[in-house]
């Protein structure tokens, strides 16, 4: 039996827990359905998510709520300039056991399912780099010994766009390892009013888990079986290609302001996230619409603008919007003289 034969019932079976997860997360953080959807998409795609937003917007609560709803391990690390790599990965400590002394590995907070790295840009590059192997290989190597991290493992890091003094911007290599960079904006006054009224201390309501660890693993595994057609993969490739200033398909803003475009990892991330989004939508195949929806979340931290963009006040959002406008879903545009 082809794997595609069984995928539809598996997808249908997964719909209810995923819907519950989304509904519950929307209770944790109000009026952020799109952000919640992207976060769950990123997690199901097996990626790491960088959350950026002002303090007090509920980033930490969102991640905590997610881990609680999924019944998975959760650790939180507050990144500070004096944080050492071993504070994250763990280290060997000398321990006396049965009259003998031996080095025993003391696991760091990275040994969990969800690692919340609060204000990740406040740690030194050395400490930030300690996460590279964990994020990419899902393993940690200390003193020559490599240890696998629990599955699933993903990092959800937060970043404060203000108070940049004393911070260390994430290196491009590490930024590229985050599947999504999501922006958390302040809530509308109506939502704020609800929060003030309903949440005395700001704490979200206590929610029961809606997803087991096995279900989460199964969902992540199911994402890999989602089919990406040649047309959709071509579309992804053309989109990523158009983010490069030297590409013939690049729009004017990309040619003028972008210094580096998306890497092949970005294309892979876009494909994976489109698959995950399709699972959430209950489809056995990735669609053009999912690719368009997720293009911003995947690419906004991967496009490196040059200084002229700052001078002209051009942001990465405009470049991405121009790419989406310039690249058609059709690999061959409709001939002139034909209209839809």
């Amino acid at each position: 039996m082809d794997s595609s034969d069984a995928i539809k019932p598996r997808i249908e079976e997964m719909q209810k827990p995923i819907r519950n997860l989304l509904d519950s997360l929307n209770q944790v953080i109000l009026d952020k359905e799109s952000l919640v959807l992207d976060l769950v998409t990123g997690v199901l795609a097996g990626g790491h998510v960088l959350l950026e937003g002002l303090p007090g917007l509920g980033k930490t609560e969102l991640v905590k709520g997610f881990s609680r709803l999924c019944s998975i391990g959760f650790n939180r690390v507050q990144f500070t300039p004096d944080l050492l790599p071993s504070d994250i990965t763990g280290s060997f400590i000398l321990q006396q056991k049965e009259g003998q002394r031996e080095f025993v590995f003391q696991e760091g907070p990275v040994f969990t399912n969800v690692l919340l790295g609060d204000e990740i840009n406040r740690a030194s590059p050395k400490t930030q780099s300690a996460l590279l192997e964990a994020m990419q290989e899902r393993s940690v190597t200390v003193m020559g010994e490599t240890r696998a991290l629990p599955s699933p493992f993903f990092v959800i890091a937060t970043q404060n766009p203000i108070e940049l003094e004393g911070t260390y911007p994430l290196p491009e290599a590490q930024v590229d390892r985050f599947l999504f960079k999501l922006h958390l904006t302040r809530p509308a006054s109506r939502v704020l009013s609800d929060i003030v009224r309903d949440r005395v201390n700001g704490a979200p309501p206590t929610l029961e888990p809606v997803l087991t660890l096995d279900q989460l693993r199964a969902a992540i595994a199911l994402v890999h079986d989602i089919y990406v057609s040649e047309a959709v993969s071509n579309y992804i490739a053309r989109l990523v290609e158009a983010t490069h200033p030297d590409s013939p398909d690049a729009p004017e803003s990309v040619r003028k302001y972008v210094r580096y475009g998306g890497s092949p990892r970005a294309a892979i991330a876009l494909g994976a996230s489109a698959r995950a989004r399709s699972l959430i939508l209950g489809r056995p195949q990735a669609g053009f619409d999912s690719v368009r929806d997720l293009f911003g979340a995947v690419m906004n931290h991967r496009l490196i603008l040059d200084y002229s963009a700052r001078i002209d006040g051009v942001g990465v959002d405009r470049a991405m919007a121009d790419v989406l406008s310039a690249v058609d879903e059709y690999s061959k545009p409709l001939p002139a003289g034909v209209k839809e």
Binding site: Y227, S229, A231, L281, Q285, E329, Y330, P335, V338
Partner: protein, 425 residues
């Protein structure tokens, strides 16, 4: 892959439509170019060379060539839509969720005819349609241009100066002849003849064979009419002589000596003569004769009547001299009995007539036999003898005073009678 057949029924009409548009687009520029070229050529020929305007239609033969070239060009550029590309369009028109393309690549992913029927039902009504404005903006101006070129009337040919000169040379003697024969022609005859000459002269683009023949025919009619008038006058003069002799033989010196019936008979004879001549002479002359007749009726004596008859006889003699079309015997001044000698004979450069062409022919023993002489045209301009150019057998000399020189030249059929009469056939 059996499920894919459902998509084929959607893909094929899509493919036909879009690839037809691709073909049209690839050919459109060249097609419009050829159409514009055709219209331009048609206009140019209608203005500059109206007779050759039909040759512009040959450019229409380029249309199939351009269409084939457009198809080849589109194929080489890879502009035609492949199945997968058609499916992308169908996918977007369906739900933009990749289901159509995925179902084509993985038929089991989207199974069942229901799915294909649903796709077709949703996509076909939203299929890409021709943008009439897009093509209208391009095609209509060219069509308009072609329409103008087609309805544009060809420029009317301008009369050639040479043709005008020839016609004037041919018709001027006719006017002169009418003027000379004025006493012998009635007013109606003169007006009719002048109108016919003017009608012949209206077509002054080229001198045609028909015009030549019409002019000759007209000249003959003028001569005939003048001859009739002259005959009437001659007959009148004879009768007047006869009456005069009868008067002389009567020996009467006064009217009383002549019997009234005798006088009356003479007067009746004169009246009959006048009646016969009526309509064949010019109106002033007829009036003049009527006046004279009235004078004779009122003559008081045979002497008086004789004087009046003498007066009438001399008047008739004058009239005959004035209206005579007989020539004076000089060359080129023939007359009604000597052919068209009065006509200004203008020879010169050869005139190309419709359908006429010179045929190069090798003469046996350098001898031109009469059988080789074929009438092709008439040279209406003054001749320029070139003895070195013409063989002795064709043209030897012009300008003979007597017409006795031997000359072989080609003449038109219309001239043969005249020439034959001139040489006393």
């Amino acid at each position: 892959m059996t499920e894919n057949r459902g998509l084929r029924s959607l893909v094929r009409p899509f493919s036909r439509r879009l690839n037809l548009v691709v073909w049209v687009n690839a050919s459109l520029g060249w097609t419009l170019g050829v159409a514009g070229l055709y219209a331009t050529a048609l206009i140019a020929l209608k203005v500059a060379f109206p007779e050759g305007a039909r040759y512009a239609h040959a450019l229409l033969a380029l249309f199939p060539v351009v269409l084939v070239a457009g198809w080849i060009a589109a194929r080489r550029r890879g502009a035609f839509f492949r199945t997968t590309e058609i499916l992308e369009i169908a996918d977007r028109l369906y739900r933009n969720d990749g289901s159509v393309t995925a179902s084509y690549e993985q038929p089991r992913l989207m199974s069942g005819p229901d799915f294909f029927a649903e796709v077709k039902g949703e996509v076909w009504p939203r299929r890409p349609r021709l943008d009439a404005r897009h093509y209208g903006k391009r095609i209509l101006p060219v069509l308009l241009y072609c329409g103008i070129a087609l309805v544009l009337p060809p420029r009317p040919p301008t009369p050639t100066q040479q043709a005008e000169e020839i016609l004037a040379a041919l018709t001027e003697p006719l006017y002169e002849k009418i003027e000379e024969s004025q006493p012998l022609l009635s007013e109606e005859q003169r007006e009719e003849l002048i109108e016919e000459i003017q009608a012949i002269s209206e077509n002054n683009l080229a001198v045609t064979r028909e015009q030549w023949e019409a002019i000759e025919d007209l000249e003959k009619r003028i001569d005939d009419a003048a001859k009739l008038g002259e005959n009437a006058l001659s007959e009148l003069a004879t009768k007047v002589d006869e009456i005069s002799s009868r008067l002389d033989s009567s020996g009467a010196t006064s009217a009383t000596q002549m019997s009234s019936p005798e006088m009356q008979e003479m007067m009746n004879d004169l009246a009959d003569l006048m009646k016969n001549a009526e309509g064949r002479l010019s109106r002033p002359f007829e009036g003049n004769l009527q006046g004279m007749m009235e004078g004779m009726r009122s003559a008081m004596s045979p002497g008086d009547l004789g004087d009046r008859l003498d007066d009438l006889r001399s008047r008739l003699s004058e009239m005959l001299d004035e209206g005579s079309l007989s020539g004076d015997g000089a060359a080129g001044r023939g007359g009604i009995d000597r052919g068209r000698g009065d006509a200004l004979l203008v020879l010169g450069e050869e005139q190309t007539l419709d359908g006429a062409a010179y045929e190069e022919k090798q003469l046996a023993n350098k001898y031109l036999s009469p059988d080789d002489l074929v009438s092709l045209g008439i040279t209406p301009i003054e001749p320029k003898p070139d003895p070195g150019r013409f063989s002795p057998g064709t043209v030897r000399e012009f300008g003979s005073e007597t017409g006795s020189e031997v000359s072989r030249t080609r003449i038109s059929p219309g001239q043969k009678d005249v020439v034959g009469k001139y040489f006393g056939e």
